[in-house]
């Protein structure tokens, strides 16, 4: 039963990912992004990381995907939607990815067949305790980064209008 769950989830994720990459229409690829992220969340769940499952869903699927949709709407023009989405070097890219995949494959090989030893149990309490004990500093830092990103984003969007006034 567990295999079925894993295979289906991973199939969903990979197909969605391919969609993101190959969809002609940017809007569709944004949607496929959402689906892919949900697939990943499922995999988290399969891996017993329940808090992460929830987190993924909350942060990525809703936040980022939606955000992208907005930007597509704002920045995109009608012509963009139907223009060719991939530049001319994609065969080279495919070749490179294949080679790298093969490289990965060699690295992954040793890990084959390592069984899980424990049953998954709720990890939220543990994560919380960890966050505030070992990872206190990164926790603070990450908040700092987020604020900075926020200010940056505001600045760019506001600054733009200033730029327009000046010729």
């Amino acid at each position: 039963m567990e295999q079925i769950v894993f295979y289906s989830l991973s199939a969903v994720t990979l197909i969605a990912a391919l969609g993101v990459v190959t969809m002609r229409n940017v809007l569709h690829s944004a949607l496929m992004l959402g689906v892919a992220l949900m697939g990943v969340a499922g995999l988290f769940a399969a891996l017993g990381a329940d808090f992460l499952f929830a987190g993924q869903i909350v942060i990525y699927v809703t936040g980022v995907a939606v955000l992208v949709l907005f930007v597509v709407m704002l920045a995109g023009r009608e012509s963009d939607l139907h223009a060719r989405q991939t530049n001319e070097k994609w065969p080279l890219a495919v070749a490179i990815c294949a080679v790298i995949f093969f490289g990965f494959w060699r690295c992954i090989a040793p890990y084959a067949g390592t069984p899980t030893r424990t049953q998954p149990e709720p990890s939220t309490r543990a994560i919380g305790k960890l966050l505030l004990s070992d990872y206190a500093l990164p926790f603070e830092l990450i908040s700092l980064i987020l604020i900075a990103a926020m200010i940056g984003a505001i600045l760019f969007s506001r600054g733009g209008s200033a730029a327009e006034d000046a010729p």
């Binding site: 890219a93 070749a95 080679v99 790298i100 093969f102 490289g103 990965f104 060699r106």
Partner: protein, 656 residues
């Protein structure tokens, strides 16, 4: 008296140093008298020694052939090699001591008058004393090396004395010529010494004599040494090839010629051969050489004397001829006869020179053609020179007769061909001597002005002339009387008795031939030169070529001049080689090589190293340009390259 014999050479040496540095130059300096006093003392000493040894009052040391033999170590090196400073007085040494000191004394007295007006008189006397000291050193020395040292010092003093009037180019050239020619002879002597030492390891005459007696000296070595010493003697005693310097040495003051070039120095060669006679007797070949050299010199010199017009040159040739006789005497085992002739020759030849000196002093010219009939103006000089001319010409019962007769007798006993040539030379001798006498003193004066001016020399000059005249008259007879000289100077040679003589000549042949030849020469000279010179001049014109060769001394002079020019050319060639070849090519050439290498390395440096550096520069620049095209602003391309790199790395990871 005999023990202090080593003082005899030293006293004149010190006096010469004192004279040279003490006192002041100039005409009236007192130094000459100091010189004469010293020489008088030496003469006294040596005459006493001579008479005592002569009369046998001082006997020979038992079993030895010498009277005195003392030595002090002078030089010692190596295992046991030593050179001693010693004194060896035997028969010949005593005789020569007497002769040298006597003649030197007389010459110094004579020079008082002769050099009266010369401002460098002091230096003249210093050189004279120095010469006599060196000569006496040569006579008494027991070691051949010291003998050689004295030999060279004698050469130097003759150089100084010949070149006494060095302002004039003539004496300067003559002095150099004399020294170089004698030096040439000395090389032979030097070689002989080296060879002798390498075989015997000592220079001491007495030790050498015992060595040779024991037969340690192989024959060919003895011959070589003999020849070497002979060459030395030829150089010093002006024998055949190397006689050229003696006629030119007449440039020096006449008393010098009298002392050095008549009585003492030139005799050194004969004395050397006599001193090492034991080597010669053990090397018959060398002895034969001595004989033949002597004979040839005697004959050729006599011929040269016939045509000479300079009075001193005639006497010079005559000296060479008489020296030839002495050499001949030695060569034919006539040891005693040679030394006897040496002694008598010293007296009359010194007299002749001094006489010529007083003639020159009064007429101020050497050329006999400007003289003539001086007997009226200078009776004393004329008579004394007359006696000397008769003595040398071979007038019987005079000293010259005895000694020359002894030499001819020895020659006859050895080889009659030699005797014949010897007698012929004797004839020539009487001819040219009488010619000289007639030209200068007899006949009418050819140069009236000089004739008026001619005057008899002062007493200081004629005194010595009379002493020598008496000696020339009686010395021969006295010494010959009951074999006095024979007893003093003899050298018994096994197999060659002094008078044994191979073929016994009939009693009258030898003396008769000599007298006949003497009269013949006298007659001829009288006929040709007593009266007018027409006939002589006629004869001379007819035999022009002969006169000329004789005049040019058988072209020996030219030969040696050619030799000198050859050596100059050789020297110039050597110097050319040195400066051009060795210096230019070897050294400067080397510089060129180094410079070429430097240029090459410089070129290499510019072209390659610099090139490489610039090359790197341009390379990076081109590469930069090349890569620039890659950077086209496409972010994705950069990512592409990164991932390309990762891909490559992955394959690498896989393949390993």
């Amino acid at each position: 008296m005999l023990e202090h014999v080593y003082w005899i050479p030293l006293i004149p040496l010190f006096t010469s140093v004192v004279i040279l540095f003490g006192g002041k130059e100039g005409k009236d300096s007192k130094m000459p008298y100091l010189g004469i006093a010293a020489m008088a003392w030496c003469f006294l000493q040596s005459s006493v020694i001579f008479f005592q040894t002569l009369t046998g009052r001082i006997p020979l040391l038992e079993g030895k052939e010498y009277f005195l033999y003392e030595r002090i170590p002078w030089l010692s090196w190596g295992p046991n090699l030593k050179v001693h400073l010693g004194v060896l007085i035997d028969g010949p040494a005593a005789t020569l001591l007497f002769v040298v000191t006597l003649v030197s004394l007389l010459v110094q007295i004579y020079s008082l008058g002769y050099m009266y007006d010369d401002k460098r008189k002091k230096r003249y006397y210093a050189f004279l004393s120095f010469f006599t000291a060196a000569m006496l050193g040569l006579v008494v020395s027991s070691s051949l090396l010291i003998l050689f040292a004295a030999w060279e010092l004698v050469g130097v003093s003759s150089y100084l004395l010949i070149g006494f009037w060095f302002e004039k180019p003539g004496p300067a050239y003559a002095a150099k010529k004399a020294f170089i020619t004698t030096k040439l002879g000395d090389c032979g002597f030097y070689f002989g010494l080296l060879l002798l030492f390498s075989y015997t390891g000592t220079f001491d005459l007495v030790m050498l004599k015992s060595h040779v007696a024991q037969g340690l000296l192989p024959l060919e070595a003895a011959t070589a040494i003999g020849i070497g010493f002979l060459i030395g003697a030829i150089g010093k005693s002006a024998q055949m090839p190397l006689f050229i310097w003696l006629p030119d040495a007449m440039e020096g003051p006449t008393p010098v010629s009298a002392l050095i070039h008549a009585a003492t120095m030139v005799v050194a060669g004969i004395y050397l051969v006599a001193r090492v006679y034991f080597i010669y007797t053990s090397a018959p070949l060398a002895l034969g050489a001595v004989a033949w050299v002597g004979l040839f010199t005697a004959f050729l010199a006599a011929t040269m004397a016939v045509t000479a017009y300079d009075i001193k040159k005639v006497l010079a040739y005559s000296t060479i001829s008489q020296l030839g006789y002495m050499m001949l005497g030695l060569g034919v085992y006539g040891y005693t006869s040679a030394l006897f002739h040496l002694t008598t020759h010293a007296f009359f030849k010194a007299l002749l020179f001094l006489g010529a000196g007083s003639v020159i002093h009064s007429v101020h010219t050497n050329d006999m053609r400007e003289m003539g009939g001086l007997i009226k103006r200078m009776p004393a000089t004329a008579t004394t020179m007359g006696i000397a001319t008769l003595t040398i010409a071979g007038m019987p019962l005079l000293s010259g007769w005895w000694s020359k007769e002894a030499v001819l007798h020895a020659a006859y006993s050895h080889n009659w061909g030699m005797w014949l040539l010897g007698v012929l030379t004797a004839g020539l001798t009487s001819f040219y001597m009488c010619r000289l006498f007639f030209l200068t003193f007899i006949g009418e004066p050819r140069d009236p002005h000089k004739h008026q001016h001619a005057h008899e020399s002062p007493a200081t000059m004629t005194g010595p002339l009379w002493v020598l005249a008496m000696l020339s008259l009686f010395a021969g007879g006295l010494l010959h009387y009951n074999g006095l000289f024979e007893h003093l100077v003899h050298f018994e040679v096994v197999g060659h008795g002094e008078h044994a003589g191979g073929s016994h000549a009939p009693a009258f042949l030898l003396p008769g031939a000599a007298i006949f030849v003497f009269l013949l020469g006298l007659g001829f000279a009288y006929r040709l030169y007593a009266g007018s010179l027409k006939t002589a001049q006629g004869l001379r014109d007819r035999f022009e070529w002969a006169a000329d060769t004789l005049e040019r001394r058988y072209y020996f002079d030219d030969f040696f001049l050619w030799l000198v020019s050859l050596s100059d050319k050789l020297a110039a060639a050597c110097f050319w080689i040195d400066s051009r070849v060795v210096d230019a090519i070897f050294v400067d050439g080397w510089a060129l090589v180094v410079r070429a290498v430097a240029a090459a390395s410089d070129f290499f440096d510019d072209y390659f190293v610099d090139g490489a550096v610039d090359g790197m520069g341009t390379l990076t620049q081109d590469a930069g340009w090349g890569l620039r095209k890659l950077v086209r602003g496409q972010v994705q391309e950069y990512l592409l390259y990164v991932s390309l790199a990762v891909a490559v790395f992955a394959t690498f990871l896989i393949s390993r």
